[in-house]
Amino acid sequence: MALAAALFLSTGCQRDEITHFRADKAPQTTAARTVSPAMVREEVASPPPAATGSLKWTLPRGWTDSPGSGMRYATLKPPIAGRIDVSVIVLPGPAGGELANVNRWRGQIGLGPIDENAMAAARKPLKAKAGTISVYDFSSEGDAKTRIVAGLAVVDGNTWFVKMLGDASAVHAARSDFTRLLQSLRRDSSN
C-alpha cells in the first residue's frame, strides 16, 4: 500500500528529459493542429515589424474585411455559405522561406510535403500592383475535400500571405473573387 501511495505521488514526475528521435521526412505534422483552439490559432502568424510597405486591396462585391485580432493583419469574409476563412498575414523577412510555408499549408489540409521542383510546378504567378504574387492551390484527399488557395508576396522585405481555407465547395465558389482580390493588392500610399 505504501508502494501504491508512492506510485500515486510519483505522478507528474515522469518524462522530464530531453528526447531524441530520427524521423523520416514523411507526410505528417499538422493534422492534429486542426482540432484544438491553440491549433486554430496556429493558422495565423505574425505581423510586420516595420512601418514600411503596408498593402491595401479592393474588396470584391459582397466581401467584408475587419482588422485582424491577435496576430492577424486582417480577416476577410466572402458572402459564401460553408466553412471558409480568408486571412491576411504579414511576416518580417522571408518568414521561414517559401517552401517551408507551402509545406505548412499543405500540412494544414493533410497533404505531405513537396520539394522545390514540385513547388515550382504548383506555383502560379499572378501580376498585381504590389508585384508578382505566387499563388498556390491545394485540395485535400478524401470524400469531403478541404481546399486552400494562398497568395504570397514579398514587399519591402516583408512577406505577405493572403490565404483562403475551407470546404472545397465554398473555396471554389469564392475562387474567382479571391483572384481579383489578389490582383488588387497594392502599396498603401498613406504610410
Binding site: 506510485l7 530520427r22 521526412k25 484544438s36 511576416l91 518568414a95 522561406g97 478524401g142
Partner: protein, 387 residues
C-alpha cells in the same frame, strides 16, 4: 503506543463506520468533482478532487492554499487499509470463506488498479487525416520545444525539450547536438499580439517573433481551452549566439538558423512520442441511421506498419473497439474536417487489466460464496427431509 491505544486504533481501522465514512466522502468528492468540471474541465477537476490526497482552497486575493477536504487518493488509501484490516480481523482463513476472501481480494485489486492508473497512465492523441501516415502521438496538454536538424534530405533529427525544463529558465544543453538553449522567459499561457510599428521593448531580435508582443495570461484548464505556450530562447552553438527567438505554438511560421552548415528549426509543439511503427488512415466512416443525422457509428480503417516485426495489416477501430498495440490502446475519440480527420485517444496504462481482473475476482468470489451457501442449504434441507 500503549496496547489500549493500539487496540482502539485497530478497532477504528477495522470498523464499518470508517467504511461508511469513506464511502460518504467519496460520494461528496464525486459530486464536487462533477460540478467543478464546468469551470475546470474534466482533467483539471479529476486532478484536484480525485487524484489528490488533499483538496485545497485558495484564499481569495492570495496565493495561500488551505487544505479543506481529503482528496480521492487519501480516501481511497484509507478505504483500502480499512478493507484489508477488516478482512484480516473478521474473515477466518478457511475454505468456507474462500468466496469472501476472493471478493475482498478483487476489491483491493480495484483500488490498486486506480493507484497504478493515476501514477502511470499516459494519455495522448493521434489526429490523422485520410491518406496521412503518422508515426507519433501527441500530448494534448504538454508542450515541448522542438529543435530539429532538418539538414538531411531523408530524415529529421528531432530533439524535444519538455516545457518543464523551459519553465526553469536555465541554459539547457541539448544532448547530441552542439546547441545550448538559453531560456530568457517562459509563459504557461499567453496571447500573441501584433506589435505596432515602432513599438520597442522586445527581447526578440530574430525570426518572426520580432513583430510580436507577448501578453501573459492565467492558465486555463477547461476541456475546450488550451494554453498557448510562449518562450524566449537564445540558441548558442560553438560559442556563438544565434540571437533571441520567440517560440510558441501560436506561431505558424517556420523558424530556423544555420550553424556550421546544418539547419536547425525551432518550434513549440505538443509533446510528441515517436513510435516504432506507423499508422495510415485509409478511411474514416461516420455512419448515420438511415434518413436521419443521428450518428450510428464512427470508425477508422487504419493500416498498421511495423517494419521491425514485418507487420503490415489493416485494423478497423470503432466505438469501444480500440486497437491495442505496443502497450497502447487507440480509441476512436473524435473527428473533424468534414469527416476526413479522425482523432484517436491513445491510452498507455500498464494497469489496464487490473479492473478486469478485479471484476472477475469479485464475480467469481460471489459465485463461489453463493454456491457454498446453496450447497450448505441444500444439505441442511436434505437432512431435514431425511428426518
Amino acid at each position: 503506543m500503549t496496547p489500549r491505544i493500539s487496540r482502539r486504533a485497530w478497532d477504528a481501522l477495522t470498523s464499518l463506520k470508517l467504511t461508511l465514512i469513506c464511502l460518504g466522502l467519496l460520494m461528496v468528492l464525486v459530486v464536487a468533482c462533477t460540478l467543478a468540471q464546468v469551470e475546470m474541465g474534466t482533467f483539471g477537476a479529476v486532478n484536484v478532487y480525485i487524484r489528490s490526497f488533499l483538496v485545497f482552497w485558495q484564499v481569495p486575493g492570495t496565493t495561500f492554499r488551505v487544505p479543506v477536504f481529503p482528496g480521492g487518493g487519501l480516501v481511497g488509501l484509507v478505504l483500502m487499509l480499512n478493507l484489508v484490516a477488516a478482512q484480516v480481523k473478521r474473515l477466518e482463513l478457511s475454505w468456507r470463506k474462500a468466496g469472501l476472501w476472493t471478493v475482498h481480494a478483487g476489491l483491493i485489486l480495484l483500488f490498486v488498479g486506480e493507484f497504478v492508473t493515476g501514477a502511470f497512465q499516459v494519455e495522448t492523441q493521434l489526429a490523422i487525416e485520410e491518406g496521412q501516415t503518422l508515426n507519433y502521438v501527441e500530448s494534448p496538454r504538454q508542450m515541448e520545444l522542438a529543435l530539429v536538424d532538418v539538414t538531411d534530405p531523408g530524415h529529421d533529427d528531432v530533439y524535444g525539450v519538455p516545457e518543464s525544463l523551459l519553465a526553469s529558465a536555465q541554459t539547457i544543453q541539448v544532448p547530441g547536438t552542439p546547441v545550448s538553449l538559453r531560456v530568457k522567459g517562459f509563459y504557461q499561457n499567453a496571447e500573441l499580439i501584433r506589435r505596432e510599428p515602432g513599438e520597442g521593448g522586445s527581447p526578440v531580435d530574430r525570426g518572426v517573433g520580432t513583430g510580436v508582443r507577448v501578453r501573459q495570461l492565467p492558465p486555463v484548464s477547461g476541456d475546450n481551452e488550451t494554453d498557448l505556450r510562449a518562450a524566449y530562447v537564445e540558441p548558442i552553438a560553438g560559442g556563438r549566439s544565434y540571437g533571441t527567438w520567440l517560440v510558441s505554438n501560436g506561431l505558424g511560421a517556420p523558424q530556423s538558423f544555420v550553424h556550421e552548415g546544418r539547419t536547425w528549426a525551432l518550434s513549440m509543439q505538443p509533446r510528441r512520442e515517436y513510435l516504432p511503427y506507423s499508422l495510415t488512415l485509409k478511411k474514416f466512416s461516420h455512419d448515420r441511421y438511415a434518413g436521419t443525422d443521428i450518428p450510428k457509428n464512427f470508425s477508422s480503417l487504419v493500416q498498421l506498419k511495423n517494419p521491425a516485426r514485418g507487420e503490415d495489416r489493416d485494423v478497423l477501430i470503432y466505438m469501444n473497439q480500440p486497437l491495442r498495440y505496443g502497450g497502447k490502446a487507440f480509441y476512436q475519440a473524435s473527428f473533424g474536417k468534414n469527416d476526413t480527420l479522425s482523432v484517436l485517444q491513445v491510452v498507455e496504462n500498464p494497469g489496464w487489466l487490473l479492473p478486469y481482473v478485479s471484476c472477475v475476482l469479485v464475480a467469481a468470489g460471489l459465485v463461489i460464496h453463493f454456491l457454498f451457501v446453496l450447497f450448505r442449504s441444500l444439505k441442511r434441507a436434505g437432512v431435514g427431509v431425511a428426518r
